[in-house]
C-alpha cells in the first residue's frame, strides 16, 4: 500500500517521463534511503524507464557525513545504483569543518544549507541528470510551511508546497515523491524492510528556530493526525495577493546559478569566507551591497568600502 501510494503520487504529479536520468539526493538518512529503495522498486515494477543515479553531497563534517556516506556507499552496492559524490571541498575549496573553525558554531547552518542546495544542482549537472528528487516527507513540508509563515517569507511560502519546483528553463527541476508520506510511515517502512540507514543528528546543528516548528507539528499530529496533510492542503490552496511584491529570480553574475539578487548567496558567503569577513551575507545584507553589487570587479576600491561598511553595519546586535 505504501508503495502504491507513492506510485500514485508519481503518476498523478507527472513527476518523470521515460528515458530521463534522475538524480536521487542521498544523504544516507532514512528518508533518502527509503526514497532510493522505493524509486528502484517502482522503476522496475511499473517500468518507468528511468536511469537512476544516487547523488551525495560531502559537506566535510568529520564524525557525521563521513559515516553517513559509508551508508550511501553500502546502499550503492545493495541497490546496484551508480553513485556520484560532490564535496564542498572541491566545489568551494572549503569544507564545513574548516568553515566552522573560522566562524564558530553559530550561523554555520546558513553556509551548509546555501552551499548544499547549489552543490546538488552542480552534481546533477555533472552527471547530466534531467531531474533531482529529494526525500522530503510530509512532516518536512508542513514544518516548512509553518516556518515560512513565522518568518514572513511569502515567496518561499508559495513555492514550498509545490511537488516539482522548476526555477526556469535551464535549471534542473526538483521533485519530492514522498511529499504526502508521513515521517512515521517512512520509519515503519524502513524498519519492516530492514533498510540500512544512518541516523545521527549533525554535530554542528542546533537548528533552534526550526526546532520550534518541528515540535509544533509533532504536537499537532497528536491532537489530530490529519493535521500534517491539512497544512499541506492549506499551503496548496492559499492565494497570494497579486499586488504583493515578489523577489524576481535572476542569475548570479558570478557563477550563473539562480539567485534573487545580483550575486547569489553562495558567492557572497564564499567571498566573506575568502576575505576573512565571515559575517558577510549573514543576516540582513546592506542595501548598498545588494543593489550596486560587489560584482563590479573593475571598481575594487568601491568593493572595499562596501565591505568595510558591511562589517561596521553588522555589529553583533545587527546580525539576524
Amino acid at each position: 500500500m505504501f508503495e502504491e501510494e507513492i506510485h500514485q503520487t508519481i503518476i498523478s504529479g507527472n513527476l518523470f517521463s521515460s528515458g530521463e536520468t534522475v538524480a536521487i539526493g542521498a544523504s544516507g538518512g532514512k528518508d533518502s534511503t527509503v526514497l532510493a529503495y522505493i524509486m528502484k522498486l517502482l522503476n522496475e515494477k511499473y517500468d518507468y524507464g528511468l536511469n537512476l543515479v544516487l547523488l551525495s553531497v560531502d559537506e566535510g563534517i568529520t564524525g557525521y557525513r563521513d559515516d553517513s556516506l559509508e551508508t550511501v556507499k553500502r546502499n550503492k552496492e545493495q541497490y546496484s545504483l551508480p553513485l556520484k559524490i560532490v564535496s564542498y571541498q572541491e566545489l568551494y575549496n572549503w569544507s564545513m569543518d574548516s568553515i566552522v573553525r573560522q566562524i564558530g558554531m553559530k550561523n554555520n547552518c546558513t553556509f551548509c544549507g546555501v552551499f548544499r542546495r547549489q552543490a546538488l544542482d552542480r552534481g546533477a549537472n555533472l552527471i547530466k541528470a534531467d531531474k533531482i528528487c529529494t526525500g522530503h516527507n510530509a512532516d518536512d513540508i508542513a514544518e516548512t510551511v509553518i516556518m515560512n509563515i513565522l518568518r514572513g517569507d511569502i515567496a518561499r511560502l508559495r513555492r514550498c508546497t509545490a511537488i516539482t519546483t522548476c526555477s526556469d528553463d535551464d535549471g534542473i527541476p526538483r521533485c519530492k515523491p514522498l511529499k504526502y508520506t508521513y515521517e512515521k510511515e517512512i520509519v515503519m517502512y524502513a524498519y519492516f524492510k530492514n533498510l540500512d540507514y544512518f541516523s545521527t543528528e549533525c554535530i554542528y546543528s542546533p537548528n533552534a528556530y526550526r526546532g520550534y516548528a518541528r515540535a509544533y507539528i509533532k504536537d499537532l499530529e497528536q491532537v489530530r493526525p490529519s493535521s500534517i496533510l491539512d497544512i499541506i492542503h492549506s499551503g496548496e490552496v492559499m492565494c497570494i495577493k497579486e499586488e504583493t511584491k515578489m523577489p524576481v529570480q535572476t542569475h548570479c553574475e558570478r557563477c550563473g546559478y539562480i539567485s534573487s539578487n545580483k550575486l547569489c548567496k553562495a558567492c557572497i558567503l564564499l567571498e566573506g569566507l575568502n576575505k576573512g569577513l565571515p559575517k558577510l551575507g549573514i543576516g540582513k545584507t546592506p542595501k548598498t551591497y545588494r543593489t550596486e553589487g560587489a560584482s563590479n570587479s573593475q571598481n575594487l576600491v568601491h568593493v572595499q568600502t562596501v565591505l568595510v561598511r558591511a562589517r561596521q553595519k553588522l555589529a553583533p546586535e545587527m546580525v539576524l
Binding site: 498523478s12 499537532l220 490552496v237 492559499m238
Partner: protein
C-alpha cells in the same frame, strides 16, 4: 532572506531587558511612563490611551467602509478585547470625542452556556450582568441564546421573548449535537461557525449591514496558524483580514486587529473596566486539548522569546487573498459556498494534491477492507453507511468542514438553516438544469 534564523544565533532577536529602563514617555517626552508596548516603547497613560483611540479609528478611516448613519452591530463577548472595543465605540460616540463616530451602534451578546456546560444559574448570572451593561450603554441591544440557531426566523418578537418550550427542546437538541462531536478541536470550530451564522442572521434581520468583532492581532495570529493546521489555507483572508465579506449583504469588520492582547488589557485596566471571564471548552485544559489551544500555547511561547512573532504572522496573513477558489464547475455554474462556513469551496483541486492523495488512500483502504475476510460484515456495512452519509457532504463542504464532519457522527442533527440552504441550492440547481434542457 533570513536563512540565518535556522541556527543558534537567535539570542540577538530576543529581548534584552537588562540594559533598558525608560524614564520618560517616548511620545510627549514629559510625563513618566506607565506602560511599555512593543519592545522598548514606554508611554504615559494619556499618550497610550490616545494611541489606542487613534489606532481604533484609523481602522475605519483608512478603508472608509462604514458610512454615516449606518447601523453597525457590535459583537460583544464580555472578554478583554470586546470590552475595550465597546468602550472605544462609546468614547467615539460621546460628546468628548473630537470627531464623533457617525455610525449607529447596536450590541449583541451570544449566550453559549448550553454547549459550554454552564449551569442555568451561571448562565442567568452572566446574562443579567450583560443586560445591565447593555442597558447602561443606551444602544439597541440583543441577547441571543445559541439555541436560537435552530429557529427559522428572527422577528422582533422571537428575539425579545423566545418561546420557552421551544428554547428547551432546542437546548436539548443543541447539547446532543455538541455531545456527539468527538474532538474539542471540532467543537471549537463548530461553535465558531454557528456563532457567526447566528450573529449574521440576527444582523440581517435587524437591518444591520456591518458587524464589528473584537479580534486582536494576538488572537488572529493564532487563528491564522490554527486555520492552516485545520486545512483552511484558502480562507485565511476571510478569517483574519480586516473585512470578511463571505456573507451576503453583510460585512464582518475587525477594527481591533492592530491591537495586541497586552494593549487591550492595559486599556481596560487604565479605564477600570472589568471584563467577564466566561469559561470555554479549553479553559482548564492542557495545551494538547485542541488545535486552537495548542497553537495559542505555541504562539504565545514564541512571542515571549521573539517579540516580533505576532506581527510577522499578521504581515504574512496580509499578503494572502481570498483568491478565486470557487471555480465554475463542469456545467459552467459557479459553485456555491461551503454549506457550513459559507466560504468558497476549495476542493476542486488537481489529482496531484494533498486532497487527492487522501482520497486515493481512502480508496485503497476501502478496497483492502472489503478484501480481508477477518472483518465482520456488520462492521463493513456500518462503515459503508457512514461513509455514504459523509459522502453526501463531500461536494458541498470545504476541505476543513469535511474534517469537522468527520469528527461528528450524526450530522443529521445540524440546524435546519444549514440544510434549508443546501436544499434551496439543490432546488435552484435542478431548476436551472431543467430550464437549460427545455
Amino acid at each position: 532572506m533570513c536563512t540565518s534564523l535556522e541556527d543558534g544565533g537567535l539570542s540577538y532577536l530576543k529581548i534584552n531587558n537588562e540594559s533598558y529602563k525608560a524614564t520618560i514617555c517616548m511620545k510627549c517626552k514629559v510625563k513618566s511612563p506607565q506602560v511599555v508596548i512593543r519592545v522598548n516603547d514606554a508611554f504615559c497613560r494619556e499618550c497610550f490611551l490616545m494611541y489606542c483611540t487613534h489606532k481604533f479609528r484609523s481602522a475605519f478611516g483608512k478603508s472608509k467602509i462604514i458610512r454615516d448613519g449606518e447601523k453597525v452591530l457590535v459583537a460583544f463577548s464580555g472578554g478583554q478585547a470586546s470590552t475595550a472595543m465597546l468602550h472605544l465605540v462609546k468614547e467615539g460616540k460621546s460628546v468628548r470625542a473630537q470627531k464623533k463616530l457617525r455610525f449607529v451602534p447596536g450590541l449583541i451578546y451570544v449566550d453559549e452556556g448550553a454547549v459550554l456546560g454552564h449551569s442555568n444559574e451561571d448562565r442567568q448570572r452572566i446574562i443579567d450582568r450583560i443586560s445591565e451593561l447593555f442597558m447602561d450603554s443606551g444602544y439597541e441591544h440583543h441577547i441571543i441564546k445559541l439555541e436560537q440557531v435552530f429557529s427559522e426566523e428572527f422577528s422582533d418578537a422571537t428575539l425579545l421573548s423566545p418561546n420557552n418550550a421551544e428554547v428547551k427542546t432546542s437546548q436539548e437538541r443543541l447539547q446532543q449535537l455538541f455531545d456527539s462531536v468527538q474532538t474539542i478541536t471540532a467543537k471549537e470550530q463548530f461553535l465558531r461557525t454557528l456563532r457567526q451564522q447566528l450573529i449574521s442572521q440576527v444582523a440581517k434581520s435587524q437591518g444591520y449591514s456591518k458587524v464589528i468583532i473584537g479580534d486582536t492581532s494576538s488572537r488572529l495570529s493564532v487563528a491564522l496558524l490554527s486555520s492552516m493546521a485545520q486545512g483552511k489555507g484558502a480562507h485565511i483572508a476571510y478569517d483574519t483580514s480586516l473585512i470578511d465579506d463571505r456573507y451576503d449583504q453583510l460585512l464582518l469588520i475587525r477594527p481591533m486587529r492592530e491591537f495586541t492582547s497586552k494593549e487591550v488589557t492595559m486599556y481596560n485596566r487604565f479605564y477600570g473596566l472589568n471584563p467577564l471571564v466566561v469559561p470555554t471548552f479549553t479553559t482548564k485544559a492542557t495545551s494538547g486539548a485542541s488545535i486552537d489551544k495548542l497553537t495559542e500555547t505555541f504562539v504565545s511561547g514564541l512571542q515571549a522569546e521573539f517579540p516580533s512573532t505576532v506581527s510577522t504572522i499578521m504581515r504574512t496573513g496580509d499578503k494572502l487573498s481570498n483568491g478565486k477558489v470557487s471555480m465554475p464547475d463542469a456545467d459552467g455554474n459557479t459553485t456555491s459556498p461551503c454549506m457550513l462556513c459559507l466560504a468558497p469551496l476549495d476542493i476542486s483541486v488537481a489529482e496531484s494534491s494533498a486532497l487527492g492523495s487522501v482520497r486515493y488512500t481512502n480508496q485503497l483502504a476501502a478496497s483492502r477492507k472489503s478484501d480481508s475476510p477477518t472483518s465482520s460484515a456488520d462492521n463493513i456495512s456500518a462503515s459503508l453507511e457512514r461513509s455514504c452519509d459523509l459522502n453526501s457532504y463531500d461536494s458541498s463542504c470545504c476541505y476543513s468542514c469535511q474534517r469537522l464532519l468527520e469528527d461528528m457522527p450524526q450530522p443529521k442533527f445540524l440546524p435546519g438553516a444549514v440544510f434549508s440552504r443546501e436544499q434551496s441550492r439543490l432546488a435552484m440547481k435542478s431548476y436551472i438544469e431543467e430550464n437549460l434542457l427545455s
